[in-house]
């Protein structure tokens, strides 16, 4: 999945900083813009790929939910169902030199990057073959080989850490870009703004992706944020921002292309606010009493990211039912195999408790 499809035509980044701007005058939404519906032309292959990748995440997460219910997975476990288009669209715009960091709702990110479903699942069951040898669990997984920097349980922490990743990229003068994901709730952490300032000051190649799924646990954005247009949160630092329909994988891809281009060309950070929605509770232990069933159903039936792509494929005659069925079957096999692998992998030895505390004692 890490292979990036050919570039969609990217919109020209707007001029965001005018030297002539009078000091003290607020930067208005010149730096921040709501992005119109995508005009990106995508090939059928590419759309099929998105479909497949999103479906993998959906089915994987459904299975995780079941396994949690069966007691095979413990601790906190946050599902990504509903938000699949965000990581799939973004990842498609990345290349082998780019890297990713996120919070605890991380299963989808890892699958989109191309990390092995069976090893992600084995981490969830706390087994030896998991990405962190079982010691991290759902919230704390990493892959150096895939340039995935975690999996972090402290809300907001990926932002300064990700900014540091981008600092290193710039220092090493490579082409790489860091994609740093965090939530609407995390966007109220102070460390976010300290990071924004330094990222723009030092023109660091980082895309701040705010996954605005409308809730931080039970607190809706409206009850937590004085201003709810989170793509404008970088304005006072002159960081350009875009608001994107995060349920539409093509819109995400188009915005990602623009942002990657912006960062690669040395212009500094960009903020992408992805308007999205999580269908399940915050974690497995959340009955989600703070929102109505109608609200959830409305998104599910009218804006589901996978259904949207499915309809596009069928209506545009880019694929037929048989083709989609074959993809469904392929995904089912992968998920079943991952679940089996994760239950068969041995538990870590108790001696593992003492390893990896320091590199060497």
């Amino acid at each position: 999945m890490a292979k990036s499809a050919p570039r969609a035509k990217s919109t020209t980044p707007p001029k965001t900083k005018s030297q002539a701007k009078p000091p003290g005058k607020a930067l208005k939404s010149k730096t921040a813009a709501k992005v119109p519906a995508p005009t990106a032309v995508a090939t059928s292959d590419r759309i099929l790929r998105y479909y497949r990748d999103m479906l993998l995440i959906r089915r994987f997460e459904e299975r995780v939910g079941q396994m949690y219910g069966m007691g095979l997975i413990g601790g906190f476990c946050h599902l990504y169902i509903g938000q699949e288009a965000v990581v799939v669209g973004l990842q498609a715009a990345l290349g082998p030199e780019d890297q990713v960091i996120t919070g605890y709702r991380d299963h989808g990110h890892m699958l989109a990057i191309g990390m092995e479903p069976k090893r992600v699942m084995a981490e969830l069951t706390g087994r030896r073959d998991g990405y962190s040898k079982g010691k991290g669990g759902s919230m704390h997984m990493f892959s150096r080989a895939e340039r995935f920097f975690g999996g972090h349980g402290i809300v907001g922490a990926p932002v300064p850490l990700g900014t540091g990743l981008a600092f290193a990229q710039r220092y090493q003068a490579g082409r790489g870009v860091t994609v740093c994901y965090f939530g609407d709730g995390a966007s109220n952490q102070g460390q976010v703004y300290e990071s924004f300032n330094m990222a723009e000051l030092w023109k660091l190649p980082i895309i701040y992706v705010i996954e605005n799924n409308q809730y931080a646990m039970g607190t809706s954005v409206k009850r937590a944020s004085a201003t709810v247009d989170l793509y404008r949160r970088g304005e006072s630092f002159a960081i350009p921002g875009r608001q994107v329909d995060g349920m539409d994988v093509l819109a995400v891809r188009a915005a990602a292309d623009e942002a990657v281009e912006w960062c690669r060309s040395g212009k500094g950070p960009m903020i992408l606010e992805m308007k999205t929605y999580r269908y399940r509770g915050h974690s497995m232990s959340d009955p989600a009493k703070y929102r109505s069933r109608e609200e959830v159903n409305k998104v599910r039936t009218e804006h589901d990211p996978i259904d949207q792509v499915r309809n596009r494929l069928l209506e545009g005659k880019l694929a037929d039912e048989a083709r989609l069925k074959a993809i469904d079957n392929e995904i089912r096999e992968i998920v079943i195999a991952a679940a089996e692998f994760a239950q068969e992998s041995p538990e870590p030895d108790v001696a593992e408790l003492w390893t990896d505390v320091l590199e060497a004692i």
């Binding site: 601790g75 962190s132 349980g153 709730g185 039970g218 607190t219």
Partner: protein, 331 residues
């Protein structure tokens, strides 16, 4: 004891915490509860469930994810006549507010020559046992117990969960209350008239004369269980529940050790630089000549707490280790 006080109800530790909050909100209109998901969600450990409906959003205030910010706001409000209760979801996230707590709450009285106090209560969950791994499971209360200007409480019983909060609110200085996550579901009887309890005294939870098991919070049930087992083997352990981690009740600790002549400290924090280390030093300073054996400690393994259940349990103080340590010092 009045008739009302004698009536007993079966409640959980969580219920007792909620009763204490409710009582404080009813008694004093200056009291308000502030924190992440304390309102609509009902608290991340369901402690404040129902309080929003009863007291409204002005007094049960959901905050953004801004631990440093809202803890600072609590400090400011306390300096300005309020009696805030700030809830931080867990001690792990309190580290984002460490600067507020250590540099501001703990110092303002001293720095202002006594002009301003910070009558603030900060509650938070602590401890491991729920497979939440290394960013949600640590026991860092000992760090806060290091700091002059703070009081640090660790209610381990239903009575203390019910009674410590009110005393803390009446206290003119910042008080931190640590609620161990594994205690919330524990149940027990609570007298209907149960109320405020002192916050400056340790308690003897079980009397004995052969060895003192000194502990607090989530380790108390383990120490009591160990004492039970030891009794079966002819060793009578005295269990000291610290209750207050700062200031430590040296008198009760030392009186127990002077009697039993042996001490085992059980502390879910890591051994190095721990509360257990401090208590051990005090025993050495004050009752060294009464000791028949070196002080022993049972602490968490010095590793980040891992995710798999068997590794997590292997990292924590457990009954067999406490029993073994006690037998070791009894000889």
């Amino acid at each position: 004891m009045s008739a009302a006080a004698e009536m007993v109800a079966e409640v959980t530790y969580r219920d007792a915490c909620r009763m204490a909050l409710r009582d404080a909100l009813v008694r004093d209109t200056r009291v308000f509860l502030m924190g992440e998901d304390v309102g609509h969600y009902g608290g991340c450990y369901a402690v404040s469930k129902g309080l929003l409906e009863e007291f409204g959003p002005e007094r049960i205030r959901d905050t953004p994810l801004s631990e440093s910010g809202f803890t600072g706001i609590g400090i400011g409000a306390a300096m300005n006549g309020m009696r805030p209760i700030v809830e931080i979801m867990t001690v792990n996230f309190a580290l984002l507010a460490l600067d507020q707590i250590v540099n501001n709450a703990a110092t303002i009285r001293h720095m202002s020559g006594g002009q301003f106090g910070v009558p603030l209560v900060i509650r938070m969950a602590t401890g491991a046992g729920r497979q939440l791994a290394a960013q949600h499971s640590h026991s860092l209360e000992g760090w806060f117990a290091h700091v002059p200007g703070l009081k640090v409480l660790a209610p381990a019983t239903i009575e203390d969960a019910r009674g410590m909060l009110w005393t803390a609110i009446e206290d003119p200085d910042p008080v931190l209350i640590f609620e161990h996550v594994m205690l919330y579901n524990s149940g027990g009887p609570l007298a209907a008239g149960a109320g405020a309890v002192p916050i400056d005294k340790a308690a003897i939870r079980r009397a004995g004369q052969n060895v003192s098991l000194i502990t607090y919070g989530g380790s108390l049930p383990k120490a009591l269980k160990a004492a039970e087992e030891l009794a079966g083997q002819g060793i009578e352990a005295e269990v000291v529940d610290l209750r207050t981690l700062r200031p430590l009740d040296d008198e009760t600790i030392c009186a127990s050790v002077a009697k039993t002549r042996r001490a085992v400290i059980v502390d879910e924090g890591w051994c190095s630089g721990s509360l257990a280390a401090e208590i051990s030093a005090r025993i050495m300073e004050k009752v060294f000549w009464s000791l028949d054996a070196p002080v022993a400690r049972v602490c968490s393994a010095e590793v980040p707490i891992p995710y798999p259940e068997h590794l997590e349990q292997a990292a924590l103080p457990q009954v067999p280790a406490i029993v073994a340590a006690a037998k070791g010092v009894v000889g």
